[in-house]
């Protein structure tokens, strides 16, 4: 299987990436350069092409044109996954519902026959412990909450000992407290594995909480790449509106209380 890791992380370069679905261009010439070991957050509104970009980086989708390089090698190269250990935490968790939590976490090791069963059990227990889910090996995924499923998915990714780990909307469908827990897990991973992390999200709190650098994508185009501070000060209304948009809670509540619909 995979050769021993020479580096704990890899660089990712995206050059002029274009993708269309049924004539509609979803990615319009994306250019990005992600340094080894950094947490890079791709932020943007729903439907802006973030998840599609992520699936291209991990090689689940093929680009119409352009190139993605992992440590200088094209992701389209046959056997690229044998050369670099990459993992992805899906928006839905994508746990195999027919397998127990322990089997899900250990599937990479068992399917590639990298360790004997007893050692796999030990590694699985350690990884579950690392994400705060100690002792849940025998539970089935549908017995877990959304947040726990996400953390199992993170544990499954950790088993690969990844050099590159991708997160697709890791806090979607989670309550704010659980979103914080997942955000902390991502930060913990950086010190634990030193892997390069690419996080796709529309959660502004998560993005500013964990990012070393960020990119804002809208309508299939990169609007800005830079440190989190550069986004807070940016005057581009598309960026400003996304970052500072708030529902005027008190005003809305008072309007709801108003019995006259014409005032709404």
């Amino acid at each position: 299987m995979n050769p021993p890791a020479s580096t704990p992380n890899v660089s990712v370069d995206v050059h002029d990436l274009r993708k269309s679905f049924r004539g509609q261009e979803v990615l319009k010439g994306i250019n990005l350069s992600i340094a080894p070991g950094e947490i890079f957050v791709i932020m943007g509104p729903s439907g802006s092409g973030k998840s599609v970009l992520l699936k291209h980086i991990i090689g689940l989708q093929e680009a119409d044109s352009g190139e993605i390089l992992i440590q200088g090698q094209s992701v389209a190269t046959p056997g690229i996954r044998d050369q670099f250990r990459m993992a992805m935490v899906f928006q839905s968790g994508a746990l195999l519902t027919s397998l127990s939590v322990g089997e899900n976490v250990g599937i990479y090791l068992s399917e590639h026959r990298l360790q004997p069963p007893a050692e796999i059990a030990r590694i699985v227990a350690a990884k579950l412990d690392a994400v705060g889910l100690k002792g849940l090996e025998d539970r089935m995924p549908n017995e877990l909450s959304g947040g726990m499923q996400k953390r199992v998915a993170i544990a499954r990714a950790l088993v690969i000992d990844p050099q590159l780990i991708l997160f697709d909307e890791p806090t979607s469908e989670l309550d704010p407290l659980m979103a914080v827990v997942v955000g902390e897990e991502i930060l913990k991973l950086k010190t634990l594995t030193q892997a390069t992390s690419i996080v796709v999200t529309h959660d502004r709190h998560l993005a500013f909480g964990i990012a070393d650098r960020m990119a804002m994508i809208a309508g299939g185009e990169i609007l800005l790449v830079g440190a989190p501070a550069a986004f807070k000060d940016n005057a581009d209304p598309r960026i400003h509106d996304f970052i500072y948009a708030e529902l005027p809670m008190s005003q809305t509540a008072s309007k709801r209380a108003d019995p006259n619909p014409s005032n709404l």
Binding site: R81, M88, A94, T97, Y108
Partner: protein, 240 residues
């Protein structure tokens, strides 16, 4: 055909997937056994009921056992059981793989460098390729029994158990049974490939899963009936 070829290429990994093969074997084989026996009993019975009186009327009651015996093992058991398994197990295969596709479980496997063909398709193909011929081996004698019971109990036919099986033994040999078993093996491969393929190409959410299941069953049945004709031609030619 591409999926079939890819499955053949990962055949050496079968031993590693033995637990999944056994699970599927239990699901397809054990889960269908009772239904298969009931179906075959009544198929044999109906065959005797429909043809018996006509044969008796023409003084051909002595050929009833052979006719029911040959029809069961060469045509009815393999074809009808294949259709039953396409509906029962083929649909389950395409639904399960289809939902894994829709809910990104297959994408998750691919990101872990696990080939969905060896992990999902191979165990199902092996299981159905073993289960369907085995079920046919069960179904054939049960069908004969159904024919014999009806022949003996129906007043219009009144062919005894002994007479029925004596004629059957004279007409049917092991080659005829193997003929049906071989056909069912080919049908099993067709059901497996079609159902797994439909599952793997599922898209558009739960509605897509429904579409895949329907296509898997319909395409399998059409394929079984077309294959049956050509297999019969080839096997008749070989038997000459």
């Amino acid at each position: 055909m591409v999926l079939f070829w890819r499955t053949l290429r990962v055949l050496p990994l079968a031993w590693h997937q033995r637990r999944k093969v056994l699970d599927q074997l239990f699901e397809i084989g054990n889960g269908s056994l009772l239904m298969v026996c009931i179906l075959s009993l009544f198929i044999g019975g109906v065959l005797a009921l429909q043809t018996g009186p006509v044969l008796v009327e023409r003084g051909l009651s002595s050929v009833l056992g052979g006719m029911v015996g040959l029809s069961m093992c060469k045509e009815l058991a393999p074809v009808l059981l294949a259709i039953l398994i396409a509906g029962r197990s083929g649909s389950a295969m395409s639904a399960e793989i289809g939902s894994m596709r829709v809910y990104e479980e297959i994408d998750a496997l691919r990101t872990m460098n696990i080939d969905p063909v060896s992990y999902l398709v191979l165990p199902r193909m092996l299981a159905i390729a073993v289960a369907l011929p085995t079920l046919v081996l069960f179904a054939i004698p049960v069908g004969w029994l159904g024919g014999a019971v009806v022949s003996a109990m129906n007043n219009q036919i009144a062919v005894s158990f002994n007479a029925f099986f004596q004629d059957l033994r004279q007409v049917v040999d092991a080659g005829d049974v193997l003929n049906g078993v071989f056909k069912s093996f080919v049908f099993a491969l067709a059901i497996g490939v079609i159902s797994c393929h439909q599952g793997l190409i599922t898209r558009d959410g739960p509605r897509g899963i429904g579409r895949s299941v329907t296509k898997a069953v319909v395409n399998s049945i059409v394929c079984i009936l077309i294959l049956d004709y050509f297999l019969t031609r080839v096997l008749l030619y070989i038997q000459k």
